[in-house]
């Protein structure tokens, strides 16, 4: 998973667990950038009567570094509050919910949005903003799309926000990849071979909780400009998201809790799959506690990624050139930790600085693609990952191929990638699996799967 159960401790705390972060120039409002952070991994749609929600005791943040120092210059904070209409019923809703203010909805959630500048000055952007309910089913939430649309709020300054349940847009063959690194389309070549088959989307039919904010570009750049040249250093922003909890929690034992102390970061996420597959088990919880500015301590895991060493072992004879490559992976360090400087890929750069930091780097001067390619820059589409990340980008294939060596020639022209490096994927050919759906407009992730409409997983 991008970051759904990536570290031992945060996997026990789903409401504070970042799953995916996205940043892209809005295709239908190209003067804006859309920033999305998902939380609450692997939501089974029928999970009632206490359906999924954000944590009232969690501080959610989307952070932007616009000067390359690995520190936040613009931070959007989201704080949630739940209101129970009738505490004397067990029901989530007592009738059809036809509007987000419906009295039939018994457990509403609202939130505030605050922006914090580089000096720590806070400005309230909105409060009492309603989330939509979860998608329960045709009786309880009969027109879900309309309900969710009511939860898209316009704030001053041309900002839009949405917070609530969405369909999972990240696709990956989870069951196979974590079964000793198997890729079903190529598992006939695996050390423990099975007949090759098409991939199976492990997130099919699941939901997440999304915080999305659409912001004019001029509110994100270092000088309030709207750069139009991709070579302009002001055009690159670094984005990450995180969740924090109060430092102290006392469980009183009567159903009451006391919390105190400063907010402490318990989860973070920028580039996909970093804590998942780059950071080793013993460092994962620690990594989640760290700020991007301190990521130099993790460079060694990028320079010699464990997965690059495993591929030749798991697929004997398939990756001989990768197996023989012993230099530090400067390609991965550039792509994932500093950004790609000018002169490497024609018409593109997303370099922030030499400070290694895990940021989703977006060059906002590059316009949205009229014909997006899910392989992003690997597919010749400069508007896609790793130039930020769009909701539909196939980040699993892109990163597997990069780790397999396909991007080494960007920094070391003497290296010849193995033939398989440019072919490996978990769905073959690379594709958005059937059933995964998106929206053309904000918040871009699709209508969540309804509890009634979902089907139990088959057992075999």
């Amino acid at each position: 998973m991008s970051s759904h159960r990536e570290a031992p401790e945060i996997s026990k705390d789903p409401v504070a667990d970042n799953t995916d972060t996205y940043a892209f120039v809005s295709p239908d409002r190209p003067d804006t950038v859309t920033l999305i952070s998902n939380y609450v991994p692997l939501e089974e749609p029928p999970g009632g009567p206490n359906f999924f929600e954000f944590g009232n005791d969690v501080l959610y943040e989307i952070l932007i570094d616009n000067d390359g120092d690995g520190l936040a210059d613009v931070t959007y904070q989201f704080r949630f509050q739940t209101q129970v209409g009738n505490p004397n019923t067990f029901l989530y809703n007592t009738g059809p919910i036809t509007s987000i203010s419906s009295a039939n909805w018994n457990r509403k959630q609202f939130y505030s949005v605050t922006v914090v500048d580089a000096n720590g000055n806070s400005t309230a952007l909105g409060s009492g903003l309603a989330c939509p309910p979860c998608n329960v089913g045709p009786r309880s939430t009969p027109d879900y799309e309309n309900l969710a649309q009511q939860a898209v709020h316009s704030l001053s300054g041309g900002i839009k926000v949405f917070a609530g349940q969405r369909a999972e847009g990240f696709y990956v063959d989870l069951g196979s990849i974590f079964d000793l690194g198997a890729l079903r389309p190529f598992q006939n070549l695996h050390l423990i071979p099975l007949p090759a088959t098409q991939g199976v989307n492990g997130t099919q039919g699941l939901n997440v909780h999304t915080i999305a904010i659409q912001v004019p570009k001029t509110l994100l750049t270092s000088d309030g400009s709207n750069p139009t040249k991709e070579s302009d250093s002001r055009s690159v922003i670094g984005v990450w998201a995180r969740a924090s909890r109060r430092k102290a929690l006392i469980i009183e034992g009567n159903g009451q809790f006391d919390e105190a102390g400063p907010w402490v970061q318990v989860s973070r996420l920028a580039e996909p799959l970093i804590n998942e597959v780059i950071i080793p088990m013993g460092k994962k919880d620690f990594w989640n506690s760290q700020y991007p500015v301190n990521d130099s301590q993790f460079v060694k895991y990028y320079a010699h990624p464990e997965l690059a060493g495993l591929l030749p072992v798991l697929y004997p004879g398939v990756f001989p050139n990768l197996a023989a490559y012993t230099k530090p992976r400067a390609d991965l360090e550039a792509i994932l930790l500093t950004g790609i400087p000018s002169g490497i890929i024609p018409g593109f750069q997303n370099f922030t600085s030499k400070t290694p930091s895990d940021l989703l780097r977006l060059n906002i001067a590059i316009p949205p693609s009229a014909n997006p390619n899910i392989l992003g820059i690997l597919g010749g589409d400069l508007a896609g990952f790793p130039n930020g990340r769009r909701v539909f980008d196939d980040t699993v294939t892109i990163e597997i191929r990069a780790i397999a060596g396909v991007t080494i020639p960007l920094v070391d022209p003497s290296f010849k990638p193995d033939g398989a490096a440019g072919l490996v994927d978990d769905f073959n050919p690379p594709q958005i699996p059937q059933g995964v759906h998106y929206q053309q407009e904000f918040p871009y992730l699709g209508v969540p799967i309804g509890g009634f409409q979902s089907q139990p997983h088959p057992v075999s």
């Binding site: 102290a248 105190a260 400063p262 318990v266």
Partner: protein, 93 residues
């Protein structure tokens, strides 16, 4: 033994024992402040019972040095008071 929680409450504790107190009543707060060691920053001593509208948590981070963390609201104050810590330890027996 110190218990580990996922929120890192005790993460930095090096003591062989720790005491947590929820000091919700004003007289208790006053007692803590009165007995605090001289290394309490002057600005922090301005906290008064009148300003305390929510629970205050005290966390003994290190018994050996008497290092105590006080948390109220979103603030955290670290100070040393070996005598207070010793009295708390005696209260545990």
């Amino acid at each position: 033994m110190v218990k580990l929680t996922r929120r890192g409450f005790f993460k930095q504790t090096t003591a062989s024992a720790a005491t947590i107190g929820v000091l919700a009543a004003a007289p208790n707060l006053a007692a803590v402040v009165e007995n605090s060691a001289p290394d309490v920053p002057a600005a922090e001593t301005e906290l008064s019972a009148a300003t305390l509208t929510e629970p205050m948590l005290a966390h003994v981070r290190d018994v050996a040095t008497g290092e105590v963390s006080l948390m109220v609201g979103e603030r955290e104050i670290i100070y040393r008071d070996p005598q207070l810590v010793m009295r708390l330890l005696r209260a545990m027996h």
